[in-house]
């Protein structure tokens, strides 16, 4: 398999091509622009189309239209741009349209800055737009995962008929790392009986989200609720790092999760039994990951690039059975592995542990 050196954002573009996606609608915004730039150069070679829309709202509604025809489609943007897309994402969720939406997070609120951030966690994991819906959210932490999870995103979108969000940041987007360009996995057969592709010779299909009566409305909501429950039961994904004997746990995703791995290794050198749970799906949040540790672990630190958003999900996952503390950097700053360890030591009074 071919191994290449690409910027994280370009990796997403390459994975989209190799996932069979041939349609991209977007509006450029730093630090996500290399995705549309890469696809603009590469898509024409494989018969794909990149269209720069008049704005983000136009782009997401073009995705809506393309998805209605059963085509694999992608858009990419960064935080303020993703905010503009929310109405379209809500409509797409309501109709059950598969699509992949990349959010290369900026730090916010407002126009914000370009440094790495995770402050769109709430927006990403609570639906983001109006109404009661969810999108699957995948959080890669290195270039290879940008590739793998982009492919996975397309398959999950088709499998469950819903928009899937790839939650990344400018640090991952701009960094170059070696990536193995794996072949696309065998995608399971998906139901395409809903696709609007010309009704000649069959009954016409309508993709719309308006419910004429409250009874129809509730029936729709119950149907979607069942789908989200099913996804919560079957699609939780996470990685564990030195958790087996852990007395303390870090919980972190994306860029900070890989920094936390260095923290864990440094802690272990000092005799501190620290482990890491790295959520891969931010929604559904991997509650199951915490089950074995709920009654075992003495304390948890949620490491985030925000005021502390995921920490609420962590507390729910462990039913507040032990102290859950927050270590965070904001505004585009990244923590070092050392400052995280110092926080762990100070918070849980561990500085007295013997060096081994």
């Amino acid at each position: 398999m071919e191994k290449v050196l690409l910027k994280g954002n370009e990796v997403i573009g390459e994975a989209a091509i190799r996932s069979g996606c041939r349609l991209f609608f977007g509006y450029p915004i730093t630090p996500s622009t290399e995705i549309v730039e890469y696809l603009s150069a590469q898509f024409p070679k494989v018969g794909g189309t990149v269209l720069q829309a008049e704005d983000e709202i136009g782009a997401i509604n073009m995705c809506y239209g393309a998805a209605c025809t059963g085509s694999r489609v992608m858009t990419a943007s960064s935080s303020p741009g993703v905010s503009l897309k929310q109405e379209g994402i809500s409509f797409s969720a309501a109709v059950g349209l598969p699509m992949v939406i990349v959010n290369v997070n900026r730090c916010g609120p407002g126009l914000g800055g370009l440094g790495p951030a995770q402050s769109d966690y709430y927006q990403s994991t609570r639906g983001g737009g109006h109404g009661d819906y969810r999108t699957i959210v995948l959080a890669p932490s290195k270039a290879q995962e940008l590739y793998d999870y982009t492919m996975l995103a397309f398959d999950l979108a088709d499998k469950h008929r819903l928009p899937v969000l790839l939650h990344t940041d400018g640090f991952l987007g701009q960094t170059m790392e070696p990536v193995v360009l794996k072949e696309r996995p065998e995608a399971p057969e998906t139901d395409r009986s809903w696709v609007v592709d010309g009704a000649k010779g069959r009954k016409k299909r309508i993709l719309a989200s308006y419910s004429l009566t409250n009874e129809i409305g509730e029936a729709n909501n119950l149907r979607w609720e069942a789908k989200y429950k099913h996804i919560q039961e079957t699609e939780q994904r996470w990685e564990e790092f030195h958790t087996e004997d852990a007395e303390y746990l870090l919980v972190s995703f994306g860029t900070t999760a890989r920094i936390c791995k260095s923290t864990v290794l440094n802690a272990r050198k000092k005799g501190i039994k620290l482990g890491l749970i790295r959520p891969i799906t931010l929604w559904p949040f991997p509650n199951d990951a915490f089950v074995p540790y709920k009654d075992k672990v003495k304390g948890i630190v949620s490491v985030e690039l925000s005021m502390g958003q995921m920490i609420e999900d962590v507390k729910l996952a462990v039913e507040c059975k032990m102290p859950v503390e927050l270590y965070r950097r904001q505004g585009g700053m990244l923590p070092t592995e050392h400052e995280i360890l110092t926080f762990v030591e100070n918070t849980f009074n561990l500085s007295a542990v013997e060096e081994v």
Partner: protein
């Protein structure tokens, strides 16, 4: 084993390219690596920096707190990054553009008039490669042969640049201060 290297200078001095040479040298020998550019507003102040982490095992934290080595191509880059070298590390300074009053004694500081050497070669823009030459003997995971292989790949579209770059690197390697 790891090499955490910071590269810094003015925009236009070929700082990102310097990083790419190291990154491709790592690629060529199947190392794990991260090439991390400064981007966004950082790039718009006229200074450029990037960092490269090379490792023979998986790289977890890509954030360089303390670097093993650095190349600084001008005085502002020296001022910013000299304190970020770990004790025992190596700092290559382009002394044509950075006159130093005092230097840290707990690191190896190599002062090389890279811009003057590049000018003598008739190509001021290869001061970056002269400086790289001075650093190569101090890296753990990259040697001249790997850099040469990487260069062949990087200038594949403009092969006339290959010899110039390699000559510059050699001049840097053989410079006696």
């Amino acid at each position: 084993m790891m090499d955490k290297v910071i590269l810094a200078g003015f925009g236009g001095q070929g700082v990102m390219f310097l990083g790419k040479v190291l990154a491709y040298a790592g690629m060529g020998s199947d190392l794990e690596l991260c090439w991390i550019p400064s981007y966004g507003p950082e790039m718009r102040g006229g200074t450029a920096n990037c960092s490269v982490v090379l490792s023979d095992e998986e790289i977890h934290s890509p954030v360089i707190d303390q670097a093993d080595a650095a190349i600084v191509l001008n005085k502002p880059a020296y001022d910013k990054f000299a304190p970020r070298i770990k004790p025992g590390g190596v700092l290559v300074v382009n002394s044509s553009l950075a006159k130093l009053d005092e230097v840290r004694e707990d690191i190896t500081v190599i002062q090389i008039p890279a811009t003057e050497i590049a000018n003598e070669m008739g190509n001021t823009s290869i001061a970056n490669m002269v400086s790289l030459g001075a650093l190569i003997p101090h890296l753990n995971l990259v040697d001249l042969a790997k850099v040469e292989k990487a260069m062949v790949k990087l200038v594949a579209k403009r092969p006339e640049l290959l010899e110039t770059n390699l000559t510059a690197i050699n001049k840097g390697m053989n410079y006696q201060g």
